[in-house]
Symmetry: C2
Subunit: 325 residues, 2 copies
């Protein structure tokens, strides 16, 4: 049974399920697979690598996929021609996360694409809405990768109350199954954004060993920190931290970040080598708390089908009387 | 329309809404008010103060209220006669939070009371279930007061998957309205535990100025830290931190905890004075992220009525088709 919301109409999709634009992991293949399954695929433009972006946009063009492109705003702002490069391919939407969206809103809208801003607080939600965002993503602290500290279960309804009358709000962080989609809808969301769950699919551009670690992890096994950012010489400003699966390297350095900085030269070399070799005892698997809800590696279509089927069943049988038993 | 779940049957209550046993704030008056409204009141035994506990239990006895008693387990363990004192009054349940429940489970069950264990991770959930807990409370990081770092939206369904077949699970942390109750039910909870929302009621044993700060705050205005624990000479072991509203004192010392420890003598004196004088620029208001969802000071009955009414309406109209529009 399809779940129809304001976001399915706005994006012209069948299901209110959006792929998180995970840096490098959400490549053209995964983006196309999520759209083909009835959701909305968003390419993980991330920090912005022109060669990677051009190649993946070429691939999307060949498949005639309806898609979005996501950027880490503060990084893309250093080379804004990457935004032009993306807009030339006529994405249906651009997602801006982590940074001031205002310099880019008019250009994106002028191209015919929707502006989707990911925010982590009420203050940022109000700023993004005032800047003209067409859609907001409320990202809870449960999310993998960079984020802040507010839990989704309070952030989402408070954002909906603040801006939801005029702006659809998507829920991100911690959603990996039909229960999460149904709960997000109860909290006022128009749909969900899923990263970790789609990382653990056949189509995602991640190492099989990384996907296997996500499948095996519980939600207790992730941690927000700046350890992997220090280790890859990529430190973000406060209050942003990055959530990834705990591993030998994180357990070694967590709480000893000052000492890690003193050893940054040798540790960053080791870290870069570990990334090349897919040694995930050292290199981070960037995944969220919902790893604990991921119990298989499947196809993107199976994920979408299952989430929609389970959420529909919950919503259909969720009358107050039917809950008893 | 009543919402009936396994917990309403087990506790013999009308609505799946439970008062969080907030230390000192959840006194006999608030406990009785929540039970009278159709929920389940739990006295905030907290660290354990014999004089306070005796007085409040006397008051509850006079009102013939069905009630529970909550303790901070590691603190109560230092004077276990307080548990006996509570059990003599025949509570329907005892809530154990933060510490090993095993030494107390048999004694509580022997008295006829249910054992409810509050947990913050999958590991703790499995331990509590193995120890014989009748009910678990999955407490998300959104909660006010002491807690850990996992978001409710992932912790709750993962706990339900781990132990929910045999043990009802209640959701705590970040729930303050009907949307939160409906979402918690979608995630597999049998009900919700609310602290912050009940703090901001007429009946709660808190200063009016503290309640007003909760009403005025957004969810961005709370912070987990150990600043107020250092300031009141009450430091907890890692990984526990305490969430409270940001104020002048917290903003001054956050990130400078080592320096605060160096000034603990003078700062703890100032802090104690501020607590006596209800100076909440220095003394902490211990409240959670759901402060941003609290927009009035009302009666406990109004809170229960509103949460049930709004959740029922959401659940009644939440068929997949009806969400569109």
């Amino acid at each position: 049974m399809p779940i129809s919301t304001s976001i399915t109409k706005l994006l012209g999709i069948s299901h209110p399920i959006v792929l998180a634009p995970m840096d490098l992991v959400a490549d053209a293949r995964l983006t196309a697979a999520v759209t083909a399954a009835g959701g909305f695929g968003i390419l993980g433009g991330g920090y912005g690598d022109e060669q990677w972006l051009t190649r993946e946009l070429d691939l999307l063009e060949q498949t005639h996929t309806r898609f979005g492109v996501g950027f880490i705003t503060w990084s893309m702002a250093k080379q804004p021609k990457l935004l032009d490069l993306a807009l030339e391919r006529k994405p249906a939407a651009v997602v801006l996360s982590f940074g001031d969206p205002r310099p880019f809103v008019d250009r994106i809208k002028g191209s015919g694409a929707l502006v989707i801003c990911q925010i982590q607080s009420i203050a940022l939600a109000k700023e993004a809405a005032a800047a003209g965002a067409d859609v907001l993503i409320a990202q809870g602290t449960e999310a993998g990768g960079h984020g802040v500290s507010r839990g989704l279960v309070t952030l989402l309804p408070e954002v909906v109350d603040a801006v939801g009358k005029s702006t659809p709000v998507l829920a991100a962080g911690g959603i990996a199954d039909g229960r999460g989609l149904a709960a997000a809808l109860m909290l006022g969301a128009s749909g969900v954004v899923m990263g970790t769950r789609f990382y653990a699919t056949h189509e995602a551009a991640g190492a099989p060993a990384a996907k296997e670690r996500i499948r095996a992890a519980t939600g207790d096994d992730t941690q927000r920190s700046i350890v992997f950012d220090i280790s890859r010489r990529n430190v973000w400003p406060a209050p942003f931290t990055g959530r990834c699966l705990r591993n030998v390297h994180l357990d070694r350095w967590l709480g000893r970040e000052v000492e890690l900085l003193r050893h940054q030269d040798e540790e960053s070399e080791k870290y870069a080598a570990a990334r090349r070799e897919n040694d995930f005892d050292i290199a981070a698997v960037i995944a969220g708390e919902s790893s604990g809800l991921v119990r298989d590696i499947s196809s993107a279509r199976e994920v979408v089908d299952r989430v929609v089927r389970d959420a529909s069943a919950l919503l259909a049988r969720c009358s107050p009387q039917a809950l008893s038993g």
